[in-house]
Symmetry: C2
Subunit: 436 residues, 2 copies
């Protein structure tokens, strides 16, 4: 610090940010790396739906950031929020009001839930984007069953009706897995209500699930969800959400106490202040992922408007984020060594979505489409090797989980909320929009 | 329900309550069993301190009650609070105002933290009696380190000073394990502060630790804690706790932001209303654990003023609670069959306390006292076989934990608070006394 070594600041310790920090740390360069995150953990978002459906514990998908950066003595984590970037002064402004200057900056602040202005959505729908979201959703779903068991008349008021908004991978995964949870795991656990009769509704605005996937995968997802008893409504647009109901554009009203919001994300706040951005708030970047006019500022992950070779925006998922973070780090090193930067090229390895046990779809390169059990094994293998690779304990968790899953042994079905801490900073308390 | 079968109500699904439910369920008698608990999980309290010190995940020590009672088709759980018992009308009054009548009742509502009227304790000290307590404590301790790393001047204000009040087993376990956490696990994870220099103070009012243990065990605990750098203050009485300090009767002031309250428990509220009770609020019971004047009402666990053969009150720990619950269930069955009840006889198998890795004390029968590594193995064996026995997944968790512990591999160091849920009942939100 302050000894003349260049300082590289990384904002955000998600897939993109940590990928950048690891690449910078491995270079063993004569630089200081400072990564900011509001949490002390990184979230393995592709398995968040498993936390929400009580298949995995929160600690199974949260990785302690200090443990991840431990091998890099020139990297440090500060658990603080970055409110703003001042690219002309080459400074970040923290939530405390303090500033920190940088020689190079990687912005990887990610995204947040997008409610698209639907009335009542921010106040009453439950998103699934962060780990606190996932725990709240699990508590809420399980508490619905407990309330209905104590007072079965609540079932008629929608206590056992669960509405998922959005037919993308998250929505499909939630709908398929909650169905399995209710039918195969919780089915025998209640005396006064029948969880196998719980009603799961998946609302999708377009006329197909899994937009962006191949037609065969879309059809397979629909069939598998319907086979699991999910009531899939295509062409269904939500016009309002209230505490006890969802109203559709068709006029249909669904009584429910649980609306799971899986409809999409928007860029995080930090993008709003400074840089030109796309619709959806992603920051416009050059081919090398730097910001036009600010060659020392790079953007990676959900926040970057990076494109594939056809000029299409890359999806806001893990794989592009990891590669963008690594690329941004490499360009930072090149720039510090006064070398020219290189353009980012994304080679799509395909996309996958899980539907339930032994059911998934995988759109692979060369036109190969996998469905069913073989796709599920591919999905499992990808998460084991490609994404969780190198973390023994995590891999062990996933192996045990897969084994339990095959026998319908489920994990932590606890409704568990820690006591509130009056001394914790507001940022740790995760207030819900619209909550008191 | 309502078909003339006798109904047995069990209030509380802790060690005592679940032990009673299991005994009643196994009898396959022609009765209905209804167990009430405010949570849908049972807590394995002897390992709560491991959750608080990030050695185990919350799901590892919380057991899903519906899973436990699944083998007993005539037993059902209702997640509701019982506010009061009306023994003359043979009814319980629920938090909702509804009532339910019983033919026999087992009160096993447990205890709650006792602050002994110390000013500021209820508002500022962090207890360790429930699972939400443990998660809050972990979040709080880890957040202290993050705050100090972001702003090292906070160390002088006590940000890295941790005060444990109470030198019983819980206090000894917390002090010893936090020391190991700071020195052996977190030691290399920070750049600006040095966790190995964190200050742990254990305050005990009497002149010895582990009251009730043999002198050799008490001395061993003191030596082991001091070897781990814990500042043990005997004869130290707390007179007040403020947000940033603890004041002792001696006038000494310790600056700290974290006071861990391990000083003791008192009987839960339900005891306050109806029945004669001892100092400490435990319900006076007959030799068969029934309440004088109400032969169909039994009390088991922390709430029962059960005694050993010398007339001393039994300690409020797991083993007596389990045996009392089982005994109460047996007497309920005897009474329903019009047989005379039998007195409860407690055979003390000894008591243990863990101090840290490979360090524990065990006071066994026949005057045998174990200390050090052999006691630690005995402690581990007891928790594996005697208390967690029969739950494969839990046993697996503890085996893995012990193996990781021996190599200083630690678990979930996440500061993780679920987002608050506006729809969850108040009872799930666990408001802290004195919190807004």
């Amino acid at each position: 610090m302050g000894d003349g070594r260049p300082r590289v600041i990384v904002v955000g310790a998600g897939f993109a940010g940590l990928s950048a920090v690891k690449r910078l740390g491995r270079a063993r360069a004569d630089i200081d790396i400072v990564v900011f995150d509001r949490h002390n953990y990184n979230t393995f978002q592709p398995l968040l739906y498993q936390v929400a459906t009580a298949g995995l514990d929160a600690g199974d998908v949260g990785h302690h950031i200090r443990g991840i950066i431990r091998p890099y003595p020139n990297a440090e984590l500060l658990v603080e929020t970055v409110e703003q970037v001042d690219p002309d002064a080459k400074k970040v402004v923290l939530g405390t009001g303090a500033t920190m200057s940088y020689d190079a900056l990687v912005i990887a602040a990610g995204a947040r839930t997008n409610y698209y202005g639907v009335p009542g959505a921010a106040a009453h729908a439950l998103p699934l984007y962060t780990l606190p979201d996932a725990i709240r959703l699990r508590n809420h779903i399980l508490a619905d069953f407990e309330a209905a068991e104590a007072e079965p008349s609540l079932v008629a008021e929608g206590a056992l009706t669960f509405v998922v908004v959005g037919g993308g991978p998250t929505g499909v995964e939630m709908a398929g897995t909650t169905s399995e949870l209710f039918r195969n795991v919780m089915g025998n656990d209640f005396r006064r209500i029948d969880p196998t009769k719980a009603h799961i509704v998946l609302l999708e605005m377009t006329d197909h699930l899994l937009g962006g996937f191949r037609t065969r995968s879309q059809r397979h997802a629909l069939e598998e969800l319907e086979a699991r008893g999910v009531d899939v409504k295509l062409g269904a647009r939500v016009t309002s959400i209230e505490r006890d109901r969802v109203t559709l554009a068709s006029g249909e009203v669904i009584r429910t106490r649980t609306v799971i919001w899986a409809a999409g994300v928007q860029a995080s706040d930090i993008a709003d202040t400074t840089f030109p951005r796309t619709r959806g708030g992603r920051i416009v970047v050059n081919a090398d992922l730097s910001v036009p006019g600010h060659p020392e500022v790079f953007v990676a992950g959900d926040l970057a408007a990076a494109t594939d070779r056809h000029g299409n925006l890359l999806p806001q998922i893990a794989r592009p984020a990891i590669e963008e973070g690594r690329h941004a780090a490499r360009q930072v090193l090149r720039r510090l060594h006064n070398e020219p930067t290189k353009p980012f090229v994304y080679r799509d390895p395909g996309t996958m979505a899980a539907i339930g046990r032994r059911a998934a779809v995988a759109d692979l390169p060369l036109g190969i489409t996998l469905t069913g059990g073989i796709a599920w094994l591919a999905w499992l293998g990808l998460h084991l090797i490609e994404l969780m690779g190198g973390m023994r304990r995590r891999t062990e968790v996933l192996v045990r989980w897969a084994w339990d899953y095959l026998r319908w042994e489920w994990g932590p079905l606890l409704i568990l909320t820690p006591a509130p801490d009056p001394d914790l900073p507001e940022s740790e308390q995760e207030p819900e929009p619209g909550a008191p």
